[in-house]
Every structure is written in C-alpha cells, then in structure tokens.
C-alpha cells in the first residue's frame, strides 16, 4: 500500500513536471533563478524577449 502510494506520488510529480516543461513554466522558473529576480510583469517581459526567439524557431511536427 505504501509502495503503491509512493508510485502514484512519483507518477503525479513527473506528470506535473512534464506539464510545467511543456508549458514553459519550468523555463520561466529557470530564467527567474538565473536572473535572480522574482516573478513580475517586468521579469516576464524580459523572459519573453529572451525566450520567444527560440520558441518560434522550434518546428512542430505534423
């Protein structure tokens, strides 16, 4: 039972982490870490400026 609970918890953690990566929340968190700033509209503006150039160059498949 304990093991099953741990498996479910691990699965949920990974799923949430994958969602945060797919949705770029993790990239934003890394940016905040790197820049040493807290989340704000200004911080998000800077993140966007840095990140968008790379994001729009990513091909998405058919």
């Amino acid at each position: 039972m304990k093991r099953a609970r741990k498996t479910i918890r691990d699965f949920a953690t990974t799923a949430v982490a994958a969602l945060r990566e797919i949705f770029d929340e993790a990239a934003y968190a890394r940016f905040l870490d790197r820049a040493g700033v807290r989340s704000s509209r200004e911080a998000y503006e800077s993140f966007r400026r840095e990140f968008e150039e790379a994001k729009v160059r990513r091909p998405k498949c058919c």
């Binding site: 994958a18 993140f47 790379a54 998405k60 498949c61 058919c62």
Partner: protein, 672 residues
C-alpha cells in the same frame, strides 16, 4: 518466457486482423493488442540492439545538455519530462488524418504499415537521428547532412523542410475548411478559439505572469463553453455569417495565417500552442480509454476493391499510396528536425535517447492506430459518403445509391439521420478525413459517456480538437518558415534577415502565406476535393525528407566502420526510396487523370473549356513540377551518399566523422 508469450499474442492478434472476412468482424481490441505486443517487442529488443550496437550509447559520456548547460537552449532534463516535451512536438494531426484517408483500402494494409513501419522505420529514424545529434552537440539535421554527406544534402534538407511546410500548411488548412464549411456550429467554435487564445495570452502576460498551466486550464474551460454554446449560434441574428462556403473560409484562414505570423507571439501563437497541447494530451488519453471501454468491431473489410487504384477518396493503388497516405503514423521525415532540434539539448544521459527517440514514436504510431479504429468502426457506406468528393459520387440520394452499388450499403435517410445526430445539415462530401474522424470519435465518446443524446456535442468537440491542432501547426509553421526565409534573404539584403524589422516581417510573412495560400486555394477549387492531389504530395515530401535523414544515418554508420549494422537504416531507406519514387512516378506520369497530374491536365485540356480550365491545368502542372523537383533533389542526395559509401568501403576515401570528442561526465562519478 514472457516475451515468447507476447510474441505469440501479437502474432495471433495480427492473424485475427488478417484473416477476418465477411460477418466475422474483429473487435478494436485486436488492433490494440497487435500494436501493444509488436511495440513491446520492438522496444525491448530492437531499440536495445540499436542503442547498444549501432549508436553505442554510453551514459559515461557527457551530453550536450550537461556540457553546454546555459539554462536556455541546453538544459539537462529528467527523461520522462523530455519524453513529454518531445511527444508534444512530434504528435500533430498527421497520424489522425492519414490513417482515416488510407482506410479506403480497408483496414489491413495501413494497420500493418502503421505498426511494422513504425517499429522498423519511423522509430529507428527518430532514434538514430537523436543519437547522432546527441554526439554532435545537438546539431540540426541540415547541418549534420552538410557535414557528413555534403552540401547538396544540407541544401536539400533545407528545401525539403520549406516545401513540406508550405504543402503541409495548405493541406491542413484544407482539412479545416472541409470540416467547417456550411456549419455554423463548427465555424463559430473554431473562430472562438482565436479570442480565447488572446484572452489566455493577456492572462499569462499581464494578470498572472508565467502561470501557463493555470492560464491554459482557463482557456480549456472557455473552449468547453464555446463548444457547448456553438449549437445555438445558427439561431442568432448573426448566425448566418458563420454558415460559409469553402472559398470564403479559405480566405479567412489565409488572413488568419498572416495575422498569426505578424502579431506578437505572446498574444496568439504561444497561448494557442499551450491550449492545443492541453487538449491534445487530454483527448488522446480519453480516446484510448474510450476505445478500450467500447471496443467496437471494425465494420470496414480488411481489404476493399479500391486497392486497385480507383478509390473515391483519392486515386492510386495500395502500393505505394497506402504508405504515402498514412504519413506520420509510421514514419515522418519531419520528426528528424525535432530529434535534431530541441530534444538532444535536453537529454541528461545518452541512454535516455532510447525511450525518447524510439518510445515517443511508438506512442505516435499508437495514436495512428486509434485514428484507424475510429475510421473503420464506421459503416463503410457512411465512411465513403463522408469522404468521397461530390465530383466523383455526387451528393444526396445519388451518392448513397452509387456507394451502395459498390457493395457498401448506405441510404440517404441514414445519412440525414446521422447528420441530425451530430448537429450538421449534411455529411456528404465532407472530404479531408477530419469530419469522418470526428464522427468516429463522437461514436466512441458518446458510447462511453452520454449516449446518442450528446453525439452532436462530442462531434463538435472533436472538430474543434482537430481544428485547434491544425491551426497550431498552421501558425507555428508559417512563423518558422518565415524565419527560414528571412535567414535566406538576409544573405541577399541584410535588413531582410532582421527578425524584428517590421517591413521584413510583413514581406516575408506575405510570401510564405501566399505560397501555402495558393495551394490551399487550389485545393478548395479542385473539383476532386483537393485532398486527392495535396495529401499525396505532402506524404511524398515528408517521406523524402525521411530518406535524407536515413541517408545521413547510414553514412555515419558506414563512416564509423559499423557496416554490418547498416541494414538497420538501409532497409527502411530502400523501402522509402521504392515507395516515394514509385508514388512520384505515378503522381506525375500515370495515364489515369485521377492519379497523374499531367494526365489530369491533359484531360482538362481535352474537355470543354470553362472559366476555370486554364487555372486547373496550370495547378496540375505545378504539382507535377513540385513533385519532380523534390524527387530530383533527393536523388542527388542518394547519389552523393552512395559515392561516400563506395569511397569509404573501397578505402579510397577517409572515413572522417564530425563527432564531438568524448568527455566523461561527472554525473557518473557523483552517482558512483
């Protein structure tokens, strides 16, 4: 012992699918069992063999993500997270639409190709390209092709990508047009996704900066409301604006593509991308659960008489066209761009490439199997009534009679009842695959949840899901193609290469949108429905890019003196060359006007002239020319590769690989 049992079960399931005839209809579960067993064996044994012997993946070697970690492009990431990221990037509408169209041959050829083709072809391509990019600092396919084969290969990869994007966007635009035409509910729902994406964009940017998952969840709720509310739109005073003909819708989509390319990313492209990812993941999981819960029987026979090349959905024989039409569900050259793009810059350990490169493609192949199930569980008469263009079967009772005369009974009354069930005025000649897939998905969802009373809701949810998916590819593709064009034009006139210079943005966006918009317009005006010519052209272009990727992989294998393993990539390469070159030959030179572009142009020239004749003749000749150029370019890559292989094997040429030097990772020491 377990694996022997899996092998027997897989063989049994494939056998059941192959020998079912007449009233003996196989359950959808046999498709699932066959796929899961073959995938398991492929993953357990074949991918391991490739990883250990061909790629020699080594966890003690540092990956580019660890060595070049900059917190931006290169970021070491946990393998399951990278898997999710990679899968979200490779899985598009191709594996949904392709199998539905290919179902006109019966379920057997395409199902076998989806399952076996993925295990021996598509997964191998994705895996080896990821593995080799990983050993080359995450370099792109074009760069690796240029380094390892020669400049022609690099240039062909670039032209191939641009061509695929243009044709892909056009054909997917056509799929959306065909799904929305004459339907206020579908059009209003899809139209609502644009302002919803903008609301989400503003929410994420100004109200809750960076809360992307939260913003996407809000968007999904709003989209749910739009799907539900769409049924009432036709009754409103403005409802008639949403009942549109195909040309009008095509103009809107072309305008949308241009706007999406020039508007700020945060306002439309990024939130739409997140919304699409959310709905994609949820719907695919729900479809899988629905299929297992309902396990409907396959009503389509294993083989139809249309293997002879005279099918109503598109012309062409089962070989090579089944293998072209399935497209990304079995192998997709486009994947090699992602396997040599973002993904290799995220891997923490070399051996993770097996799960991500090989495993994610297996997952995509499984999506294609589910789409196939959704198509073949429909009554074949209904399937053909929806997917056959009016130019071939007519419409209304005449279409029903014609399809019944082929041995697939369907009545006009049944089609009308079905249209009423899904909230449409008619389902005849709704070509492109999306409407029939939506009917199939609605059956599965309604069978598991809500029953017939909510069929219309599920149908429009499925249409919205497909359209959202497709529009994401359309706007992201236009933007990527625009950047590529700007890069190229920047060599001629520097300011054109500046991605933030608005005149350049407007000019290059207009050029890219005009390119795919032309093909979209051509499809809309084509009396055979457009899909007939555009989807095979896309399939050929995509598989030709896969040919370039497999040429590259084979060249590296030979250069690394592992020639005894070259069959791993040579076999799928030989198959793809046979399929794509044969298909190209048929599409250009076949004397049947339903198949050959030039024959179609000739038939049009011989028929009484109308105001559209000259344009249709030009379009067919243009399609033939595009196809010919692609084939010639890939033939050049093949010749260049062959020269390399012969030179190395005969000892006349030095086998110099462009691999990054081995650096031992500190992660091993830390873990050890």
């Amino acid at each position: 012992m377990l694996w022997i049992a899996v092998a027997f079960l897989g063989a049994w399931a494939l056998g059941v699918l192959a020998i079912s005839r007449g009233e003996d209809r196989p359950s959808a579960l046999w498709f699932v069992v066959a796929a899961v067993c073959v995938y398991s064996l492929g993953y357990r044994f074949y991918s391991r063999f490739i990883g250990e012997r061909v790629l020699e993946l080594d966890d003690s070697r540092i990956t580019p993500a660890v060595r070049l970690n900059n917190g931006r492009d290169y970021v070491p990431t946990q393998k399951w997270i990278t898997f999710g990221h990679h899968f979200a990037a490779i899985a598009g509408p191709g594996p949904l639409v392709g199998p539905v169209l290919a179902a006109q041959f019966g379920y057997l050829p395409s199902t076998i190709w989806i399952i076996i083709g993925a295990v021996l072809g598509g997964c191998v391509q994705d895996f080896v390209i990821l593995g080799y990019s990983l050993k080359r600092d995450g370099r792109s396919l074009g760069r690796m092709a240029s380094d390892e084969i020669g400049p022609v290969a690099g240039f062909t990869a670039l032209v191939g990508v641009l061509t695929i994007m243009v044709i892909l966007i056009a054909v997917l635009g056509l799929v959306v047009v065909n799904a929305m035409k004459h339907s206020a509910w579908a059009t209003s729902t899809v139209a609502a996704t644009v302002p919803i994406a903008m609301i989400v964009g503003i929410y994420m940017t100004h109200l809750r900066p960076g809360r992307f998952v939260e913003g996407s969840a809000l968007g999904v709720a709003l989209i749910g409301l739009a799907v539900f509310g769409g049924r009432y739109v036709e009754g409103w005073s403005i409802g008639h604006y949403f009942v549109m003909e195909a040309p009008g819708l095509a103009v809107w989509i072309i305008g949308y593509g241009f706007l999406a390319s020039v508007l700020p990313i945060w306002l439309l492209l990024a939130p739409r991308d997140y919304l699409s990812a959310f709905i994609k993941i949820g719907t695919i999981v729900a479809l899988a659960l629905g299929i297992v819960a309902m396990h409907p029987p396959a009503l389509m026979p294993p083989l139809t008489q249309f293997t002879n090349g005279l099918g109503p959905v598109f012309g062409g024989k089962v070989f090579p066209f089944a293998f072209i039409t399935v497209a990304c569900g079995a192998i997709s050259g486009f994947h090699s761009l992602i396997a040599s793009g973002t993904t290799p810059k995220m891997l923490e350990h070399e051996r993770d490439a097996r799960l991500i490169g090989y495993g994610a493609m297996l997952m995509e192949s499984f999506v294609a199997v589910m789409a196939m199930i959704a198509a073949v569980m429909l009554q074949p008469g209904v399937y053909f009534a929806i997917n056959s263009p009016a130019g071939i079967v007519g419409t209304g009772p005449a279409a029903a009679d014609k399809i019944t005369s082929w041995g697939y009974p369907v009545t006009d009354a049944h089609m009308q009842e079905l249209a009423a069930d899904v909230g449409e005025s008619s389902l005849y000649a709704r070509t492109g695959g999306a409407p029939s897939l939506a009917v199939g998905m609605a059956h599965i969802f309604a069978g598991s949840l809500g029953g017939k009373a909510v069929m219309a809701l599920w149908y429009h949810f499925a249409i919205m899901f497909e359209a959202l998916f497709i529009l994401t590819i359309l706007d992201a593709g236009t933007r990527v193609a625009r950047f590529m064009l700007q890069d190229a034009l920047g060599h001629i006139y520097k300011p054109l290469g500046r991605t933030s210079w608005y005149p350049s943005i407007l000019v290059t966006s207009a050029l890219i949108v005009a390119a795919w918009g032309y093909f979209l317009w051509q499809g809309v005006k084509d009396p055979l429905g457009g899909i007939n010519s555009l989807w095979p052209l896309f399939g050929i272009a995509n598989q030709l890019l896969a040919t370039v990727a497999l040429c590259l992989a084979t060249t590296i294998i030979i250069k690394m003196h592992r020639t005894k393993y070259a069959a791993v990539t040579l076999v799928p390469l030989a198959w793809l060359v046979a399929v794509t070159f044969t298909a190209s030959w048929y599409k250009i030179f076949d004397p049947n006007p339903r198949v050959g572009f030039l024959a179609q142009a000739q038939a049009l020239a011989a028929a009484p002239a109308t105001s559209a004749t000259a344009r249709l003749i030009f379009n067919n000749r243009l399609d033939a020319a595009v196809n010919a150029v692609l084939v010639v370019m890939v033939a050049l890559v093949l010749v260049e590769s062959l020269r390399q292989w012969m030179g190395i094997l005969s000892g006349a040429k030095a086998a110099r690989v462009q691999e990054s030097p081995f650096v031992r990772t500190r992660l091993v020491e830390e873990q050890g």
